[in-house]
């Protein structure tokens, strides 16, 4: 049983980072990580031995996150509506024109599936194939989501208008 801790604990910092990026709330993020670990421990013996542990943990974490989002906001498909409230109005943001806006605010304007793919690939250094595994989609879908995410982030950073566009929708 105690072979597990040395395998899982080194992954915890990354699980926390992903959770914070998804939730933007430290306490909730640690709750999510805790639940992820509980779930991982209870499912440990059913885990695929040849599978990638990190990708497996991220999969559990993301699924728990999505389940919580679904529970919380039955009206919306993702956190978009709530996240939007926190996105500062570009016109009121003097740093916008200089590209000094917080990248996390830009991240919040992405739909969850784009946000996750960008985080898993660009921050957590998962391979494209591992990201596909975590998201449960084909590799081609990972690439197209990554393209959309990057296009949107560029728009956000360069003009600060992404939030506005989203608001219109």
């Amino acid at each position: 049983m105690d072979e597990i801790a040395p395998l899982i604990e080194p992954q915890i910092p990354a699980l926390r980072r992903y959770a914070v990026a998804l939730l933007r709330d430290r306490e909730a993020a640690d709750d999510l990580v805790q639940d992820t670990l509980e779930r991982a421990l209870s499912a440990w013996s059913g885990r695929r031995r040849d599978g990638d542990l990190r990708a497996w943990l991220f999969t559990i974490e993301r699924n728990l996150f999505l389940a919580a989002v679904r529970r919380r906001g039955r009206r919306g498909a993702d956190l978009g509506a709530e996240a939007l409230e926190q996105v500062p109005d570009p016109s009121a943001d003097p740093g916008a024109a200089l590209g000094a806006r917080d990248v996390l605010a830009g991240l919040d304007t992405l739909p969850e599936e784009q946000r996750s793919v960008l985080l898993l690939v660009a921050v957590e250094d998962l391979s494209y194939a591992e990201a596909a595994q975590v998201l449960g989609v084909p590799l081609g879908t990972v690439m197209s989501r990554l393209s959309r995410a990057r296009t949107r982030m560029r728009g956000f950073l360069e003009t600060g208008r992404t939030g506005l566009l989203r608001r219109v929708k």
Partner: protein, 268 residues
């Protein structure tokens, strides 16, 4: 510059931004960008953005981890402490346990390890089929949902039993189609559904395993979860890479459909 002769694609550009290209390919992509300054500018922005995102989030991963997240501490707290994260799941379990549907012994969500790997052969076969076909991008199904009447007739005829293809739109899933599978000497039917996020699940059914009606049985294998039950001479397995609560709601909907009940007639 021998090597990969393929033209430069979006995937190459991401590979360049993320530092995933072999040196030869990287040189080729960089050379291509020289002739495409607009795209080069975007790639450059993407690289800046990637670095900013990493830098912004890096401090979190450098913090000491809270004691409550230590594996030993998590293991010592046998039960989930509260309903903070799983209220819906718990409610769903309770609902099923009290309701007419029979009652899945919902220990999985209360801390008893949900590792009961599929002891029922139908579940093992269903999970194996799920693994095989759910990753299939080109031919996930044999007959597509736009031929649903044909699909249902065909599968029912081959199984010698009515095969259900319930509408799961209330659970957010659309029928993609289905296929016939071998199951020992008998055939089995597999239907595949997906949602707007691309999450796929399968409904596997085959004749056998007795005439009665069993409880819902939960199994988990890695990140794949399955609910199985037997009713009226058919075995059913709902399999997905999704959380239990959502999968359970699908299993309930299928069960209600099979039994010819409207979903809202089930007990609260």
């Amino acid at each position: 510059m021998s090597g990969d002769p393929r033209p430069v694609g979006e995937d190459d550009l991401h590979g360049l931004i993320d530092g995933r290209l072999e040196p030869e390919r990287q040189a080729l992509v960089e050379a291509w960008l020289v002739g495409n300054p607009a795209r080069a500018a975007e790639v450059s922005t993407d690289r800046v953005l990637r670095e900013r995102l990493r830098a912004r989030l890096a401090p979190i991963a450098e913090e000491a981890i809270p004691a409550r997240l230590r594996v030993a501490n998590i293991r010592s707290r046998h039960l989930y402490p509260g309903a903070s994260w799983f209220p819906m799941a718990a409610a769903a379990v309770l609902c099923l346990a009290l309701g007419g549907a029979g009652g899945w012994v919902g220990h999985a969500l209360h801390g008893v390890p949900a590792v009961a790997v599929a002891e029922a052969p139908a579940t093992q076969d269903a999970v194996a089929a799920f693994r095989t076909f759910v990753v299939e991008a080109v031919h996930p199904v044999e007959v597509r949902a736009d031929e649903k009447p044909h699909l249902v007739t065909w599968l029912s005829k081959r199984l010698g039993h009515a095969v259900a293809a319930p509408d799961l739109s209330a659970q957010g899933f659309r029928l993609m189609g289905g296929r016939l599978l071998p199951a020992g000497t008998e055939p089995a039917a597999m239907l595949m559904y997906d949602d707007d996020r691309g999450t796929r699940l399968t409904l596997y059914s085959r004749v056998g395993d007795g005439d009665g009606r069993t409880l819902f049985r939960f199994a988990r294998e890695g990140d794949i979860a399955a609910f199985s039950w037997v009713d009226g001479g058919m075995s059913y397995v709902v399999t997905g890479r999704t959380d239990e609560a959502r999968l359970l709601s699908v299993a309930q909907a299928v069960d209600a459909h099979v039994r010819g009940l409207a979903p809202d007639r089930r007990q609260p």
